[in-house]
Amino acid sequence: MTQLIWLTIALPVLGLLINGLFGRRIGNRTVSIIAPLMVLLAFLVGVGAFFETMGRGGEAVAVPLWTWVTIGDFNVPISLLVDPLSLTMVLVVTGVGFLIHVYATAYMVHSDDHGHDHDDRDFSRFFTFLNLFIASMLVLVLGDNYLMMYVGWELVGVSSYLLIGYWFDRPSEAQTPINLGSNTEPVKLQPLLSPAASGMKAFIVNRIGDVGFALGVFLLWSTFGTLQFNEIFPRAVEVSEAMPSVIPWIAALLFVGAIGKSAQLPLYVWLPDAMAGPTPVSALIHAATMVTAGVYMIVRSNILYSLAPGVSMAVAVIGMATAFFAATIALVQVDLKRVLAYSTVSQLGYMFAAVGVGAYTAGMFHLVTHAFFKALLFLGAGSVMHALHDVIDIRRMGGLKDKMKITWITFWIGGLALAGFPLMSGFFSKDEILAHVFEASPILWFFGILTAGMTAFYTFRAIFIAFHGKPRDHHLYEHAHESRTPITFALSVLAVLAIFGGLLGLPTFLGLPHFLNGWLEPVLYELPHAAEEHHMSFGAEMGLLATSAVVAVGGIFLAYFFYMLQPSIPQNLARSTRSLFALLAHKYWIDELYDTLFVQPGLKLAQAFADGLDKVVIDDMFVDGTARLIGRFGGILSKLQNGYTGSYALATFIGVIIMISYFFLR
């Protein structure tokens, strides 16, 4: 089955072509069967390859397809690498992807006021792009050289652009201001970007990251002379001794690409706006798979980062800073999807913190579990939105738990996992990261724990407001109903995964099996003179475990206290700390900052170039200028031709005299 791994890419591409070219003709029903089927088959191929690789003891196998580019000594084959790391990603992508495809078949059907359903206008176009995304993501993870990874990198960027901008004709919607009580003036919010604009914003911010990644790849080629993983990593140690400064540069440049793609500081701004796309898109791309590409890249090139401790620490710091920063914003968001968006940015921060400190398996572990519960939460939010006619503002929800039983329960499970409630998958993965981070630097750990608390708080703030308490908008409440089976099926499967996901990596210090460690071990290159694994004492580990459990439960209880027992507290608190609240509500004014720093000056410069330099200076002064000059000069000459025969005769006469006097007097 390993040799057939290329099927995982070929199948979605096949689905993409069928739906794309014949979408209208074969009808929406067949489209909604083909798309998920392709992803399911890909998943099955992945599972087959998984068991084969398990049997082989995790040793990598390359599946060459055809040589892509050969110019002189620059030779890049198109070949797929089947090894534990790429397989993990394949399984996550295809698995979660399949569930989301099933969910989307029901989600993209809108029921209007009087109950009967009609499909979304470009139903087939949506599934074409969804399959395109799955294919591009698999190219990224399965590629066995940096160029294939870069190709996948850009392709996922494009598919996210297409999917975010799916409802391209919807205008930007204004957000109702947050009122802080009767006598104070409410906090106004900027309108949400239209899908088309946010799609473009996502693509361009991604591309800025891609510039870093491309430069990293160029530097890799000019130092190693090749882009193949299996040729670079073995020689990495010897090259880093020969040219000490090169490896950190490569690591840094590649990390810039990761910042762009995985929405870390400072290039995270596109992710919240990407919520303008349909919810399955947000779940698949902006929670489970694409945003984790950066983490995958760092885990894949782990030897490079281990050889560049400075850059790794920077990765960890940026990761943790993003986690903390995003968590603070999520505290006050009123849009359920944006709460989850900032939570994704925050959780990604955790993963980068993990890989930054060298805990690659912990990073992957959290990546996998996060994929499950974050996809679950997004789909839950989608189901709520679906039921309430695309209303996602939690201030108009309330008491939905009676109306949407399954969504409520699964949302709870997802929430618990995200918050890191003990025994849930999130708990184990996040705790492992925090343990490793603590080993590296306690300050980072402190921020980590704080963020964990905040995560628990904002997750359950959203749950309590949305599902519990009294309904705030009766018309909406009346109309709410549980979503149809495909949605509930996807939710329940993901809920199961969210609960038992933790089994992948139980804490080793308790003697429990850590499957992922063993599984990913062949991928990680050990530094020859690596410091031996200094184990923290059993007590310290236990203490960390306990603190993170306490913080999680504390966060949940605090949310319960704020929103269930004393609902007036949040409003009073917000009113008293109005400036801080407004700052968080406006997302630290980052979007406006970027707009004034980069976008407007860019446009002004362009305008200056276009009108000023191009039109006036080059075109008018030089080109037409010289033309006018010659024209005027010609005008002077033409004055000599004044039409009087007399003057012509005179001219000839003078000429004659000059000639004669010259000849005779010479």
């Binding site: 000459l637 033409s638 031709q641 004044n642 039409g643 009087y644 025969t645 006469f653």
Partner: protein, 103 residues
């Protein structure tokens, strides 16, 4: 009796006639007079030719004068025809009125 006149006299005379002709062309504005003066210039040249042909004892000069006469005749004919045509258009004979061919 005829032979005593030296060649230089003839050359000087034709130079004077030529100069007068040229002066006439430049000074006068009446086209007919201008054409006449051109004729005079041509005759001055004829005189030189014949003088040389006589003193250098070769008939080529005279053949040349013969040709010049033909040219002169045609030139006057065409010149006057043009004058008539222009006159009908601008009904004036002043040479400066015909100045539309200008830059």
């Amino acid at each position: 009796m005829i032979g005593q006149v030296p060649l230089s006299y003839y050359l000087l005379l034709s130079a004077i006639l030529f100069a007068i002709g040229a002066g006439g062309v430049l000074i006068r504005r009446n086209v007919i007079i201008v054409l006449m003066c051109v004729e005079m210039m041509m005759n001055a040249v004829n005189l030189t030719f014949i003088a040389f042909s006589r003193y250098l004892d070769s008939t080529t000069g005279q053949i040349f004068v013969f040709m010049i006469m033909a040219v002169a005749a045609v030139e006057v004919a065409v010149g006057l025809a043009l004058l008539v045509e222009l006159n009908r258009h601008k009904d004036s004979v002043n040479i400066n009125d015909f100045n539309s061919l200008k830059g």
